[in-house]
C-alpha cells in the first residue's frame, strides 16, 4: 500500500518533470523559412462521401508544447497585428478566436492554412510574409486561448489592461479623480 502510494507520487513527479522539460524546450535554430502550404492535410468537412474513410494523415504542430514557443506566438500575434482585428481573442474586426465553432476548422493544420492562405471574408493571406516556424508559434498561442495546449506551457491570456481584474467592478467614473 505504502509502496504503491510511493510509486504513484514518483510517477507524478516523473510526469511533471517530463512536462516541464517539454515546457522549457527552446529551439534556437528554428527550421528555415519554407512557407509550405499544408492544404491537403487541412480538411474542413466532417462529411466524407463514400462511407467510412481511412484516417487522414495528421499534421502536428512542431512548436506546440513549449512555453517559449507559445509566448513567442503571443508576441508575434501582436507584432503582426493579429490582435488589431481579433484583439485578445474576443474579436472585433475579425471573428473571435476564443470559441467552439471554427468557420474554417480549428485544428492546428486548419489554423496554419488560414494564416498562410487567408480566407475569403477578410482574413489576409500572410503567405510569404511570416516565416513558417513563426506561423506555428502563432497557431500554438491561438490554440492556447481555448485551453488546447498543455496548461503547463500556456501563458495567461491578457484580457485585462493591467493584471488587476478587480479594477472594473462597479466602476463609477468620477469616483477616483
Amino acid at each position: 500500500m505504502a509502496s504503491l502510494r510511493y510509486s504513484k507520487s514518483a510517477f507524478f513527479a516523473a510526469a511533471l518533470l517530463l512536462a516541464s522539460c517539454q515546457r522549457e524546450k527552446h529551439d534556437i535554430q528554428p527550421a528555415p523559412t519554407r512557407l509550405a502550404i499544408y492544404g491537403d492535410a487541412a480538411r474542413q468537412s466532417a462529411l466524407r462521401p463514400g462511407g467510412s474513410v481511412k484516417p487522414q494523415p495528421v499534421v502536428t504542430n512542431p512548436y506546440n508544447a513549449s512555453g517559449y514557443d507559445i509566448s513567442e506566438g503571443q508576441r508575434l500575434y501582436d507584432w503582426y497585428n493579429c490582435s488589431g482585428c481579433h484583439f485578445a481573442g474576443g474579436g472585433g474586426i475579425g471573428p473571435p478566436l476564443i470559441k467552439k465553432e471554427w468557420i474554417y476548422g480549428g485544428e492546428p493544420a486548419n489554423l496554419f492554412d488560414t494564416i498562410v492562405k487567408g480566407r475569403p471574408n477578410g482574413m489576409p493571406s500572410w503567405g510569404g510574409r511570416i516565416p513558417e516556424y513563426q506561423i506555428w508559434q502563432i497557431v500554438a498561442y491561438v490554440r492556447s486561448m481555448n485551453g488546447e495546449q498543455p496548461t503547463s506551457a500556456t501563458p495567461t491570456r491578457p484580457d485585462t489592461i493591467e493584471t488587476n481584474p478587480q479594477n472594473l467592478v462597479n466602476r463609477v467614473p468620477g469616483a477616483t479623480k
Binding site: Y80, G94, L168
Partner: protein
C-alpha cells in the same frame, strides 16, 4: 373687408418669407432623396398627417428582408414612388415599387463587392446609404468604389475605383451630390490610411479633384482663399509640419461620414477622422488636419476655412459628426450657423461663413477636457486624462465620443436639435503600433463601460440658441440610430434592443413604440406614399461598432475586443439577435 384681408396677406408674407429664407426651412415635396433629407441635414419632414395625437395608432404597412445579418445603418430613399435601400456588405441596392400592394422588388443591383474588403472595415461592414440626383442613385461600396445606377432600370451607369483595400481603405459613408459633383470620402482611420475626400463628375464618374486631409497644402487643396478663423489653424503646410517625418502619409484623418452643403454660400462642410495610430505618443504634434471641420467649394474642392476641434487627438475623437446648417438669431444677431455635436462632448455652434465659434457647450458627460476657448479656438484639456503608453482610467467620453456617427435632427417648428448619443467612459493603455499596410494601426488597448448613471445611451432635445438641453431620455444601450423629426410634433428614433419609438417633440413624452426584429442602428425617414398618406420607414438590423458583439458573434470574455467596445456591450446578445429588415409604418 378687402383691406383687412390684404393686410393679413401682407402680414402673412412678412412672417413667412424670412422663415423660408432660412436654410433649415427647405421646400419639402414629401420625398426623401438623400440620407439627411436635405443639404442642411435637418432630417425634418413637413408631413404632419402622423402627429402627437394619433401616432399611437401607427401600424406596420409592409416589411422587407435585406437578406443580410450585419449592421443596417442606411437611410431608405424615396423618389418617384420607389424606395431605394442599400444593404450592408455586399452592398446590394434594392428598388421597391411603392405603387403596388406590399411594395414588391422592382429590381436589384448587385455590385459583387470584393469580399476581402470586410477585413479592413473597422467597425462592422455597414453602409450609410445612397443619394438620388438627376435620375441616378449614387452610393459607395466597401471595396473603395462609387457606383451610379439608373434609378428607373437598376442598370449600372458608371463605377469608379477610388482606392485600395491593401492600403486599409474602405468606404462606408453616404455620398451627397452638390453642383454636379458626387462627394465621397474614405474610411480607415484605424488602418493608417491617408484620408481624402473626392469630387466625382456626376455624369461620368471621373474624379474631378481629391482633397487629402494631410500632407502639403497643394494635396489638401489649400490655396490663397484659405482663411481659417483661428491662429492655431493658420500657416503653410501644416499637414506636414505638425507630424513626425512622413507620419502624415499613414496618419488616418479619413472622411467617413456626413457632408452638408449651403448652395448660397457655395460651401460644403465635413469633418475628418481621428489621426492614426490612436497611441498619441507615436505622433507628436497637432496632426493636422485630423479631427478637423473643413469648408470647401464643390467645383474645385478648394478649402475655404478649417477648424481643428481636437489637435493631437488623445481619445479617438473623430471630427466626422454631422453639421446641421441653421440660420438663427443668437445674442440678438441673425447668423448663418452650423451645429456640430462633436465626439469630444462639445456642441459647436459656428459661423459657417468664417469658421468662428459662436458657442461650444458640453452636451454630455465629459472629463477629458474642460472647455473651449472662444478667443483662440483651443480645447482646454484635462491633463489627468491624457493617454499614452501609461494607463489612464475613467476618461469620459470613451472613443465613440458623447456622440458617434448617429445623426441628429433639427425641427424648425420647435427650434430644437434632437440628438441620439452615448454615455460611455473608458480605460486605456498604449502599445507600440506596428504599421503593416492593410492591417490595423491603433496601438491602444481599450475597455469601455457605462458613464455616470449607468445608462449607456441618451436621446436629448438641445436648444442651440441657449446651448442647453430642454429634455432628455436615458436609454440602456447607446442610441446608435439616427433621429427624425416631423411637423406632426413628433420625433422618431430606435434603440439597440429593438424598440422603434415616437416621442413628443416638445417634452419627450413617449407616445408610441414598436418592437422590431433586431436592434435599430438605422436612420428613420418620412415620406408621402403614392396614396397621399404619410409613411415612416426604418431599417432594423443590429451591428455597427457598438453592435458588433451580436452581428459579428464576438466573445465578451475579452473586454478589449472591438476596440474596447465589447466590454460595454457584452450583454447585448441577451436583448437582440441579428438580421436586417425594413419596417414601414402608417396610420390605418
Amino acid at each position: 373687408m378687402d383691406r383687412i384681408r390684404l393686410t393679413h396677406i401682407c402680414l402673412g408674407l412678412f412672417v413667412v418669407l424670412p422663415a423660408f429664407a432660412q436654410i433649415q426651412n427647405q421646400p419639402d415635396d414629401g420625398q426623401w432623396v438623400m440620407p439627411a433629407k436635405n443639404y442642411a441635414s435637418t432630417r425634418y419632414s413637413t408631413l404632419a398627417e402622423i402627429n402627437a395625437s394619433n401616432v399611437r395608432n401607427l401600424r406596420t404597412a409592409f416589411t422587407f428582408s435585406l437578406g443580410t445579418t450585419r449592421g443596417a445603418e442606411a437611410a431608405p430613399l424615396v423618389v418617384n414612388n420607389t424606395m431605394y435601400i442599400v444593404t450592408p456588405f455586399p452592398n446590394n441596392l434594392y428598388a421597391l415599387d411603392l405603387t403596388k400592394p406590399g411594395a414588391p422588388v422592382k429590381w436589384v443591383y448587385e455590385p459583387h463587392t470584393n469580399a476581402s474588403s470586410q477585413g479592413v472595415a473597422c467597425c462592422d461592414v455597414v453602409n450609410r446609404g445612397a443619394a438620388y440626383y438627376n435620375g441616378k442613385i449614387y452610393y459607395n461600396l466597401l471595396d473603395v468604389e462609387t457606383v451610379a445606377v439608373d434609378a428607373n432600370t437598376g442598370k449600372l451607369i458608371w463605377r469608379t475605383k477610388l482606392g485600395d483595400i491593401n492600403n486599409g481603405e474602405s468606404i462606408t459613408m453616404a455620398p451627397i451630390v452638390a453642383k454636379g459633383k458626387v462627394l465621397v470620402g474614405n474610411s480607415g482611420g484605424e488602418f493608417g490610411v491617408r484620408g481624402w475626400l473626392a469630387g466625382l463628375d456626376a455624369d461620368t464618374g471621373k474624379i474631378a479633384w481629391r482633397a487629402y486631409s494631410a500632407g502639403p497644402d497643394k494635396d489638401v487643396l489649400i490655396g490663397p482663399n484659405f482663411k481659417p478663423f483661428y491662429k492655431m489653424d493658420q500657416g503653410t503646410d501644416l499637414g506636414v509640419r505638425t507630424w513626425p517625418p512622413d507620419a502624415w502619409k499613414i496618419g488616418g484623418a479619413s472622411a467617413w461620414s456626413w457632408i452638408s452643403y449651403d448652395p448660397q454660400l457655395d460651401l460644403f462642410y465635413y469633418g475628418t477622422s481621428n489621426p492614426g495610430p490612436w497611441n498619441p505618443e507615436q505622433r507628436p504634434g497637432d496632426n493636422k488636419w485630423s479631427s478637423t471641420l473643413f469648408a470647401r467649394r464643390p467645383d474645385t474642392g478648394e478649402a475655404i476655412w478649417a477648424y481643428q476641434m481636437n489637435p493631437h487627438d488623445l481619445h479617438d475623437y473623430d471630427g466626422v459628426n454631422e453639421n446641421v446648417l441653421l440660420d438663427l438669431t443668437v445674442n440678438g444677431q441673425s447668423r448663418k450657423l452650423l451645429a456640430h455635436p462633436d465626439r469630444n462632448g462639445f456642441l459647436y455652434l459656428m459661423d459657417r461663413q468664417t469658421g468662428e465659434i459662436v458657442s461650444a457647450e458640453k452636451f454630455g458627460f465629459t472629463n477629458t477636457s474642460e472647455s473651449v476657448d472662444l478667443k483662440t479656438g483651443a480645447l482646454r484639456l484635462n491633463t489627468q486624462k491624457q493617454t499614452g503608453f501609461h494607463t489612464v482610467r475613467d476618461a469620459c467620453p470613451a472613443p465613440p465620443g458623447v456622440k458617434d456617427w448617429q445623426p441628429s435632427s433639427y425641427s424648425p417648428k420647435t427650434g430644437l436639435l434632437y440628438i441620439p448619443h452615448n454615455n460611455l467612459c473608458y480605460e486605456s493603455q498604449g502599445t507600440n503600433a506596428n504599421y503593416i499596410a492593410g492591417t490595423p494601426y491603433v496601438g491602444m488597448k481599450v475597455r469601455m463601460y457605462a458613464g455616470p448613471g449607468g445608462n449607456r445611451g441618451v436621446f436629448g432635445a438641445w436648444d442651440p440658441v441657449h446651448a442647453k438641453y430642454v429634455w432628455s431620455i436615458n436609454e440602456m444601450f447607446p442610441v446608435w440610430s439616427g433621429a427624425l423629426s416631423t411637423a406632426g410634433d413628433i420625433v422618431f428614433y430606435g434603440t439597440m434592443d429593438g424598440w422603434f419609438k415616437a416621442v413628443d417633440a416638445h417634452d419627450g413624452k413617449p407616445l408610441w413604440q414598436f418592437k422590431v426584429g433586431s436592434g435599430i442602428i438605422g436612420q428613420p425617414v418620412a415620406y408621402k406614399g403614392p396614396d397621399g398618406k404619410e409613411y415612416i420607414a426604418i431599417l432594423s438590423g443590429v451591428g455597427g461598432w457598438s453592435g458588433a458583439v451580436v452581428s459579428g458573434g464576438l466573445n465578451g470574455v475579452d473586454g478589449t475586443g472591438a476596440l474596447g467596445f465589447l466590454n460595454a456591450m457584452s450583454d447585448l446578445g441577451k436583448y437582440t439577435t441579428k438580421g436586417g429588415m425594413l419596417y414601414v409604418f402608417s396610420l390605418p
